[in-house]
Symmetry: C3
Subunit: 349 residues, 3 copies
């Protein structure tokens, strides 16, 4: 990717920002951040995973962010700190070409209702629509084509990328990042059946999203039927995720791509759901639960830990034989029990 705006920092500046111990020339300037293998002489890199220790001697980087334990193996300047991966995260934000890029003010093509409250230093991009009564906090960036419904609130310093949709009556906290195509506040899936067909249940609740939440591209968070759908603070939601009405997700939980959570389920704090995980409705998942990719959870979970379901891929020929046997599994188990009884009878007979 082309760099939009060249960044340059001296190693001294970086050491100060990261509170790292610099071993090397504090005036040396770096203009990029790259992996151990890709870094060139103007780049800084990092070692956060022992697996990559083998690449350390070969790196062409100007400097390496590294744990003190591996400091001596660095062939160039280094910044030592206890958690190099956290340091990398901070560095990445320094080198982010988007930081501070959006022009202040409302683009003339945007349509902003008169009753909207825009905070200080807000940027509203081209073709946006902000409906009556919405409140946009200080420092927000509303990307091109994004639409914010009536009486919704976006907390300070949040960024909506292009083509985000926030329905009416939704509250998003501070420092949120909403990616393109995501939709917050669409109707939950609620219908009453009269024996012949469906009658819509209007979804009268809203969505309350906490602070420091990120929502990935093309993800959906539905509004509550009655009462609100609740996303806690520091919740991270990947792309293509569906969160149904009245779901609650606790603080600091992370949901990987393609996760689906059915209505009224409560996910605890510090949970991690792998890609494609599905949670049935009306469950309670306690704090500290991890679910591995593509697992189906149909019962509540009351103990922290790692949970899984499904079976991994194998060659199709082998799979066909085994998958057929799955349909006979109960029968096989009963036959095994019978043999055991017979054998035990024979042994005693």
């Amino acid at each position: 990717m082309k760099t939009l705006t060249p960044c340059a920092f001296t190693l001294g500046e970086l050491a100060e920002r990261l509170k790292a111990r610099l071993v090397g020339d504090s005036d040396h300037r770096v203009t990029g951040l790259a992996t151990l293998l890709d870094a060139g002489p103007d780049d800084i890199t990092f070692l956060a995973n022992k697996t990559y220790l083998k690449y350390l001697p070969e790196t062409s980087a100007a400097a390496v962010l590294v744990h003190p334990a591996y400091g001596d193996e660095v062939p160039c300047a280094r910044l030592e700190l206890d958690n190099p991966y956290l340091g990398y995260a901070e560095l990445s934000r320094l080198f982010d070409p988007l930081a501070g890029q959006a022009p202040e003010g409302v683009h003339p093509s945007a349509v902003v209702a008169e009753s909207v409250h825009l905070g200080a230093r807000v940027s509203v991009g081209p073709q946006c629509v902000i409906e009556a009564g919405a409140v946009i906090g200080d420092g927000c960036v509303i990307g091109a084509g994004s639409i914010i419904g009536a009486h919704s609130e976006i907390g300070a310093d949040s960024r909506l990328h292009a083509n985000v949709t926030v329905y009416h009556g939704v509250s998003v906290g501070r420092r949120a990042i909403l990616h393109s195509g995501c939709v917050v506040g669409a109707d939950g899936f609620g219908f009453a059946h009269d024996g012949q067909g469906w009658h819509k249940i209007a979804q009268l609740g809203g969505v309350i999203v906490g602070d420091d939440v990120e929502i990935g591209s093309c993800s959906s968070i539905d509004r509550g039927a009655l009462g609100d759908t609740l996303i806690g603070n520091d919740v991270k939601i990947d792309s293509q995720v569906q969160i149904a009405h009245n779901v609650q997700v606790g603080d600091h939980s992370a949901l990987a791509g393609c996760v689906g959570i059915a209505g009224s389920t409560r996910v605890g704090r510090h949970c991690m759901l792998g890609g494609g995980v599905g949670l049935s409705g009306h469950l309670t998942i306690c704090d500290g639960v991890q679910v591995t990719g593509m697992s189906l959870v149909t019962n509540s979970i009351h103990e922290p830990g790692v949970y899984s379901s499904g079976t991994g891929a194998m060659p199709n020929g082998l799979w066909r034989k085994n998958a057929v046997r799955f349909k006979q599994l109960d029968d096989l188990a009963k036959r095994l029990a019978r043999l055991e009884r017979d054998a035990s009878g024979a042994a005693q007979g």
Copy 2:
């Protein structure tokens, strides 16, 4: 969620609309609808599920929608009717702040081709695009940023929320509700292979969506290759659903979130597909089939009933042991059969 427009109804008015028997003061006014636990003295609530009977004595609601069988247990005014859940659905629509909210007319920022036919009382929101030859029925609301392709038709009293995309040559019936980010009429996934690579098959069919259909946020309904993709009347489609080219979904069927249906499959009437269900292509699923969440259906289903696949989540340690054994299942079954033969031989020997 903040109420956009305060609603107020007397219990007498509500009893009349719902055709319910009122026990209480017909002039008492209620301004909201809430759950048994959340309802305050200005709210009406409902009891539709025996599980919540325990909350009935404690409710602070002004009135309860209830089956006559439980009428005596209601501590306040009540509206008795045979199907309180249906009654709740009707009430919810009365309290819907969106009902009748959209301003009539075409917003000046919208781009509507000259040849478009707009019915009476149509609302076209800011930044919309309606292409040549499209027909928008009476009373339709086209949300901000929505785009309707050339020669498509939207039936009367339909609502497209913000940022909906309808391609060219699509027909949507009356009273449809399309949520933000959904896409109707994109190309189906059709390519011919020449031994080296792919050649696109232009998707020349369209999509025909019946009356009273709801389509959730970020769902995709692809156009047909030749002939049309067909969605029946009163079909309810949740968020993040994919419906491939030339699929047919019968009247009154409901598809929960993240469902995927491959090309040319026909789903019958009154079917219910749970969240994340996948149907292979070219199948026939008869009327009245229910498939539980995240099941994979690779064969046609000819009998109504409930179908399932997969296995539920368990602690990872236990799962690892069992999942490994799955790969040995055919072998285990053969060994069991051998033991049975030997045992039977021994018994006869």
Copy 3:
């Protein structure tokens, strides 16, 4: 679907374009393309699959595209060629009403930054936004409401349908087709944990998409963390697909709907992933691998071939019994082994 623009070709013209052998009147005109069963006297049809041979005698079509082996069974004019399915693909593009439809130039409602480079014969639809420094190749069609971020490039003769979002710093090759609601270049899902909560890792890489790529509606391709996410040439991506940061997909591979690929996984050339397939992160999938629908791949695959996981749907009552047994599978296997040992001991005893 209504035809937008009537097409008409003589059989002679079509034979020439397809390099097919015409048996019939070369001046006969056809105006449509339809299936064997649906074709009328003004249509051309095709036979590409022996399954449909039974419909051949009954067709009302004017002409049939057919393999020479079946030529004698055609009841009307015919165009013989070796690969009728490829011929159908080519025909379908001739009859495509969208071909060459978009008006040249920039719609007055579009917002195009001054520094944007627009090639020759470009069409930019209403309500589009093209940000600073972007480069749009010759002959591109940018659909209504689409947004192209700063410094991104779209190769010649590409078509973005309505409401597509391309972030900054993304490169899309020539002849791409991007469907509505798809998002290319949103942030990958990267966070560092400090023991308490999450710290964002700015996603500094981009996305590089090759030539002749199609991306379905509502699909997400995330930008790289460091380095780029890479989509090869002639890769076909269906709707509702998620491709995470730093994934690589090799040339000519096809990904069906709802596929999810986790970060840094490399998919080879000529691979085919069925609907709903999930690949874990950091895997290597070699060339020529096919994975059947809804399979979970958690290990690298080093041999071409077909791979599968999961189990197909069965009646719920049978499924419940078997699914319970799955949790006992390791125990069953151990009990079987014990029986075998005892039996073998008894035989030897």
